[in-house]
């Protein structure tokens, strides 16, 4: 019986896709089959619009061609035999309608991607973006609600599961009104010999379902993620899954213990598209099929149809293929941890996923057609009209501020720049006792790992950060994305780590609009070029489209998560000034005129209400040299502090180093060092590739200057750390630290009505 087009359209399939399904099957699909195709061929699972563009990432292209596209990328830790696994994923739409559970399950999902590879999760980070939280009115109130509950969701899940949340970023901007971004990143470590595969293998091997029982939650979650948010989105709350971190903790321990038996031949978590994705992807990767009976699937609700069982996105579940004869031994491990473990079928040589309900066949589909044959589209890209307008803005007639003190205080009190202590104190940042640099203490989070456990022979310190300045990406997606990559690498270099690899979370508007797709393509082009130049390949990631509401689209937000590895013996450096009398230098590319001005800056937006101009210039080679000098200086123990200049420019960076170290500073800028720009640009402009360091006078200072000179990097002397507890800059600013601290520390609590 032909299916009413209304039904498949409702599920997100178009007429041509439906015809392709009929052609593949040689008949009309069953309702269950239709649902399976709809989720697997959604943008969220099938990447039907993004795949052609993602091939710009060299590693992605290679992996796709060799069939090695696993759940998360692996970076070796020197030659220790251990590796770091990390990946970032979005949970934007669920968090927009049900923030606590949306954020919690985002954390849970990305953790499963890590331990399904046999890696123990050692840290989480997240990049969160909301509309403005200050002021009255329903929009700000809703933003506060989303902010508060997303943070509670991240903390509630991460704290219980025993994985420290060590860093990330939080931005506030009206473009995220009604469409917050929740990007969760997780990091794990694994012995390279023990990496688990997501491939089914061995015909006749049993298929083992483990973890939580299946309920009706999250049905069509992946499809929901692939449309724009509307007024009716609130009605999709039942599409949001409910997380249980306690079960996840048990699942981590049980999975790692079960993998250690050596009897699991393939394992994958069941996240988006649940059992459908697990069976089809594992089968397709292994070139096999699977025959399963939904009646064997543990349930937490009665009367579920095969359609519901196959599409449920209940959390904390995994699917494993186990060596025949050892299924009881493996199942016993999960049961010991109080988890469900049920054999639901076996691997076959048919290449088809057959779903039975007892004697009835509910679905019989070629696994590859769902997992690999999702139609891809080469969409039309068109430069949005706003680009020319914003880039040609002229700021020459803008007045200079009357009071630079007031400007600095406003910047420090802007929630995007202000201290995020209110947030990170709700996260357990220290569990596992490996966190060496905590949030707020350095430019990146640093872990001192217990494994690999051969001291002196292997790198054990790693650093992580997430970065994206979406205003820059709005003004110029290509340069903006490059700046995000550069800033991430700079943050890692500031703590002393060598940037190693990238995971990305590409948050964009609808790709079905040519302007949205243009932003996406340009950003990916920029990111790919920057990653190539900085030697940090993109090894995993995720795309989130349709981030728009009836009020408009988000700014393009290609979030960069970057991993850095410390060379053996290098001790990390924080951002706070350490000693009275230390000298403060600004490191930057030599001969750079720094005419970047104030385009795209937080200053321009906050003080003048304009989001225009071009993002700062970026020369990737110069960026690399600046970072190399910083790393060498950290390695040689020359630096007392290092902090990159980002939102709010050099002045905010200096103020942050004062506050973090609880020390004052006396700073003098020579206008001639800054291309005779206006003071606002010198103080608050956001020129790229700049790092503020402090160094002991004498031999350390000389050594630093030598390093800089060798690399053709300019070290501009700008001041001295003082015991004075005052921040005095350029003769234009002079404020007591206590005043800076009050605005910086209390801005978010005040916006939340707590101070």
């Amino acid at each position: 019986m032909p299916i009413d087009p209304k039904i498949y359209r409702e599920m997100g399939l178009n007429d041509a896709e439906y015809r392709q399904i009929v052609e593949t099957l040689g008949r009309e699909p069953t309702y269950t089959e239709l649902g399976m195709y709809a989720v697997m061929w959604s943008e969220h699972c099938g990447y039907k619009y993004s795949r052609p563009v993602l091939r710009l990432f060299a590693e992605y292209k290679k992996a796709q061609e060799t069939g090695a596209l696993e759940n998360a990328g692996v970076v070796p830790l020197g030659d220790s035999g251990w590796g770091v696994v990390f990946k970032m994923e979005s949970h934007n739409h669920p968090s927009a309608v049900e923030p606590t559970q949306g954020a919690a399950t985002g954390v849970g999902g990305i953790l499963r991607d890590i331990f399904t590879m046999g890696a123990r999760p050692v840290a989480s980070l997240n990049s969160l973006r909301f509309g403005p939280i200050e002021g009255d009115g329903p929009v700000a109130a809703r933003n506060r609600y989303l902010f508060e509950h997303v943070v509670a969701g991240v903390g509630g899940y991460g704290n219980c599961v025993g994985v420290p949340t060590v860093g990330g970023e939080i931005y506030f901007h009206p473009c995220y009104n009604g469409n917050p971004l929740v990007n969760a990143l997780s990091v794990g470590i694994v012995k390279l010999d023990n990496i688990a595969s997501a491939k089914a293998s061995g015909v006749g091997n049993p298929v083992l379902y483990v973890g939580s029982a299946t309920g009706r939650d999250g049905i069509h979650g992946a499809t929901f993620a692939s449309v724009e948010l509307t007024e009716e989105s609130e009605a999709k709350r039942p599409n949001v899954q409910v997380g249980d971190p306690f079960t996840e903790k048990l699942l981590i321990e049980a999975t790692l213990e079960a993998l250690a038996t050596g009897h699991i031949v393939g394992i994958q978590d069941m996240g988006a598209a649940g059992l459908t994705c697990g069976t089809c992807e594992m089968s397709a990767k292994g070139g096999l099929g699977m025959d399963i009976d939904v009646l064997q699937v543990p349930r937490r609700e009665s009367g579920m149809t095969p359609y519901e069982v196959m599409l449920s996105e209940s959390q904390e579940r995994m699917l494993a293929v186990v060596a025949r004869g050892h299924e009881e031994e493996v199942a016993a491990v999960f049961r010991k941890w109080g988890l469900q473990a049920a054999i639901i079928g076996e691997a076959t040589d048919t290449g088809r996923v057959v779903v039975r309900e007892g004697d009835t066949v509910a679905a019989d589909v070629p696994a590859k057609s769902l997992a690999d044959d999702c139609p891809t589209y080469y969409l039309n890209a068109e430069e949005p009209e706003y680009i020319h307008r914003v880039q040609s803005a002229d700021f020459s007639s803008l007045p200079e501020p009357d009071d630079y003190n007031a400007v600095l205080l406003r910047l420090l009190a802007s929630p995007t720049i202000a201290s995020k202590r209110w947030v990170w104190e709700q996260y357990d940042t220290m569990v596992q006792t490996q966190t060496e640099i905590l949030p707020g203490a350095g430019d990146a989070a640093v872990l001192n790992l217990r494994e690999p456990s051969t001291p002196g022979a292997s790198p054990r310190r790693i650093a992580m950060t997430t970065d994206c300045n979406s205003r820059f990406c709005y003004l110029d997606p290509f340069v903006g994305a490059q700046l995000s990559v550069a800033e991430a690498a700079r943050n890692l270099s500031c703590v002393g780590a060598t940037p190693a690899a990238v995971t990305d979370c590409l948050n964009f508007a609808s790709p079905e609009k040519p302007e949205g797709f243009w932003q996406f393509r340009r950003a990916v082009e920029g990111m790919a070029a920057a990653c190539e130049a900085l030697g940090t390949p993109v090894i995993s990631g995720n795309v989130s489209f349709y981030n728009e509401t009836p009020d408009g689209a988000i700014y393009p937000t290609p979030t960069v998560g970057m991993l850095g590895i410390f060379e053996e013996g290098v001790e990390p450096v924080g951002l706070g000034f350490q000693n009275d009398g230390d000298l403060i230098y600004l490191l930057r590319p030599d001969g750079w005129e720094h005419e970047s001005g104030i385009g795209g800056s937080e200053y321009l937006s906050l003080i003048h209400g304009r989001e225009e101009g071009t993002p700062p210039r970026l020369a990737l080679d110069a960026e690399r040299r600046v970072q190399s000098v910083v790393r060498k200086a950290v390695g040689a123990r020359l630096l007392r502090s290092a902090h990159d200049c980002s939102e709010g420019g050099a002045t905010v960076a200096l103020a942050e180093s004062c506050l973090a170290g609880n020390r004052g500073a006396e700073v003098r800028f020579a206008v001639t060092d800054f291309g005779d720009q206006p003071w606002s640009a010198i103080l608050f402009g956001e020129a790229a590739s700049r790092v503020i360091v402090s160094v002991r006078p004498g031999a350390d200072q000389d050594a630093l200057l030598d390093l800089a000179e060798d690399a053709a990097i300019e070290a501009v002397f700008i001041g001295q750390v003082k015991a004075s507890e005052r921040f005095d800059a350029a003769g234009l600013l002079d404020l007591p630290l206590a005043r800076l601290r009050d605005d910086y520390e209390n801005a978010i609590p005040r916006a939340m009505g707590e101070k």
Partner: protein, 258 residues
């Protein structure tokens, strides 16, 4: 024939209880091994055997997912029977964070840990004042010493009725109070609203049970930000060694069998 002379005391073996949802168990075990050179022995919640360990740590985490309330289910775990007997016999038991909550729920320490006053989870470095060095857990500290040790909990507000409170004060059972860097207990320095700033108490028949919300295992080496927790593990190790020395001496002094 005389038996061989008894072997000198070996480094202590410390049992660390593992409940479903414990997540500071290996942190505690590592801290013990690192500070005492002893051996951590992990005790599964479903077992009923302490495997002859010298002392027991009930670690932090979210046992049973904090279902009902923190520690409410863990008190019924099979392992808690031998822990209670061990406590009654004077064995040294240290409950950290969720472990403190469990010991209170099990009735091995008085009082209860309620939801933080601010209703949110709080993870930060706090300062503690050592109120009592006459315990097996604090002998290596100075009276009034100010320690910097992290907390991380959502339910850490120590609460008790007046009778219990009077008894705690009367028996000098308060071991740690929250304070500021200068040792002053103020509302701002109290992260959870605990009664009288109480962060840790001692109980048991021989003051042999310590419960504390802050995490000394997270302050056991300089690069973690503080080494102030080391003294607690060293005190514990010294107390065990004293006990072993006494037993060793008693054994040697005993007349050889004829």
């Amino acid at each position: 024939m005389n038996s061989a002379p008894p072997a000198p005391p070996a480094p202590p073996r410390i049992g660390v209880v593992v409940f479903p949802g414990s997540n500071c168990d290996t942190d505690a075990g590592n801290a013990v091994e690192q500070t005492l050179g002893g051996e951590a022995s992990y005790l599964w919640h479903a077992d009923k055997d302490l495997e002859n360990v010298d002392a027991v740590i009930v670690p932090g985490g979210f046992s049973y997912g904090d279902a009902l309330r923190a520690g409410a289910i863990a008190r019924f775990a099979p392992i808690m029977e031998p822990v209670a007997r061990f406590t009654a016999d004077g064995g040294l038991v240290l409950g950290i964070c969720n472990g403190f909550q469990i010991l209170c729920e099990a009735g091995l320490l008085p009082g209860a840990l309620a939801r933080n006053e601010g209703l949110r989870f709080v993870c930060r470095q706090v300062y503690l004042r050592v109120e009592n060095t006459d315990t097996p857990f604090t002998s290596h500290y100075r009276p009034g010493q100010v320690l910097r040790i992290p907390t991380a909990h959502g339910e850490g507000r120590f609460t008790c009725d007046d009778a219990v409170y009077d008894r705690l004060i009367g028996e000098n059972a308060v071991v740690f109070r929250y304070c500021d860097a200068d040792g002053r207990s103020t509302p701002e320095a109290n992260p959870n609203g605990s009664r009288d700033h109480i962060a840790g108490i001692v109980g048991g028949p021989q003051r042999n049970v310590l419960g504390m919300m802050p995490h000394p295992e997270r302050a056991a080496c300089a690069w973690l930000g503080s080494e102030d927790g080391v003294g607690l593990f060293e005190s514990l190790g010294a107390a065990l060694l004293d006990g072993k020395r006494a037993a060793f001496a008693a054994q040697r002094a005993a007349p050889a069998p004829v």
